[in-house]
Symmetry: C2
C-alpha cells in the first residue's frame, strides 16, 4: 500500500515537471492553425558556389506566390557541432502558409513548377517536413 | 568556334532561368543574419498521446528563454504524401534567434537544460537543423 502510494507520488511528480509551466495546447483548433513547410536541399555538386547561388536565387522567385505568407531562405549555420545536428545540407527553404489549402495552392502554382523545372537538376536530394502549429 | 559560342549561349540561358528574377543574396552580411533552429522529435512510444502532450507542454516552457525571438511548436501536417516528405516525426520545435550568440545562450539556459532533463526520456531520436538567413 505504502509502495503504491510512493509510486503514485513519484509518477505524479514526474508528470508535473513536464506539464507544470503552461496549459495544454488546444488540440481541437487544428483547422485554424498555420502550416510550416521546411525543405532541405543537398546539391549534386556540393563544392559549386555557382550552383548554390543559382539554387538560392531560384528559391527567391517563390516569394511571388500569393499563398506564401513568409519565406526564409538559408544555408547551414555555424552552430556547435553535435551528433544530433545535421549540417550536411546546402540550402534551406522555410515557408509559412495560412492553411493546408494555401500549401496545396503553392505546390500547384506555375511559379513553383517553373522553379522545379529550372532548378531540380541542381540537387541530388530533398527532404520536406510539413508541420501544423499546435 | 561556332560550337563554343553555342555552348556559351546555352549555358548563359540556363543561368538566366535560375537567376533572372532577383538580385543575389548578400553573402557578406552573414553576421547580421538571423538563426533558425528546427528540431524534430521521434517519440519512444509513438502511439502514446500522453507522451506527446508531455513533450509539447515541455516545449512550451522554452518560450521563457530570453534569446528565443519566436517559437513554433508543431505536429506533422496532413499535406499530400510524397516520397520527399518525411512525416514520421511526432513533434517539431522551430525557433528564431537574432544571432549565433543567442542560439548558444539558449543551449546553455537552465530552462533548456531542465526541459532536456525532464523530457528526454520521452524521445528516441532527435534531428536538429540550424540555418542562417541569406
Amino acid at each position: 500500500m505504502k509502495q503504491n502510494r510512493r509510486k503514485f507520488i513519484a509518477s505524479t511528480a514526474l508528470l508535473g515537471t513536464c506539464l507544470a509551466a503552461t496549459a495544454l495546447p488546444d488540440f481541437n483548433a487544428a483547422d485554424k492553425k498555420g502550416i510550416i513547410h521546411h525543405v532541405f536541399f543537398w546539391l549534386k555538386n556540393p563544392s559549386s558556389q555557382e550552383d548554390l547561388k543559382k539554387l538560392l536565387s531560384g528559391l527567391q522567385t517563390l516569394r511571388k506566390i500569393k499563398t506564401v505568407r513568409k519565406l526564409y531562405i538559408g544555408v547551414p549555420a555555424s552552430t556547435e557541432k553535435r551528433d544530433v545536428v545535421d549540417n550536411s545540407y546546402h540550402a534551406s527553404e522555410l515557408m509559412f502558409f495560412d492553411d493546408l489549402a494555401g500549401q496545396q495552392a503553392y505546390q500547384d502554382d506555375p511559379i513553383h513548377k517553373k522553379f522545379v523545372e529550372n532548378c531540380s537538376q541542381l540537387w541530388q536530394k530533398v527532404i520536406v517536413y510539413d508541420s501544423m502549429d499546435v
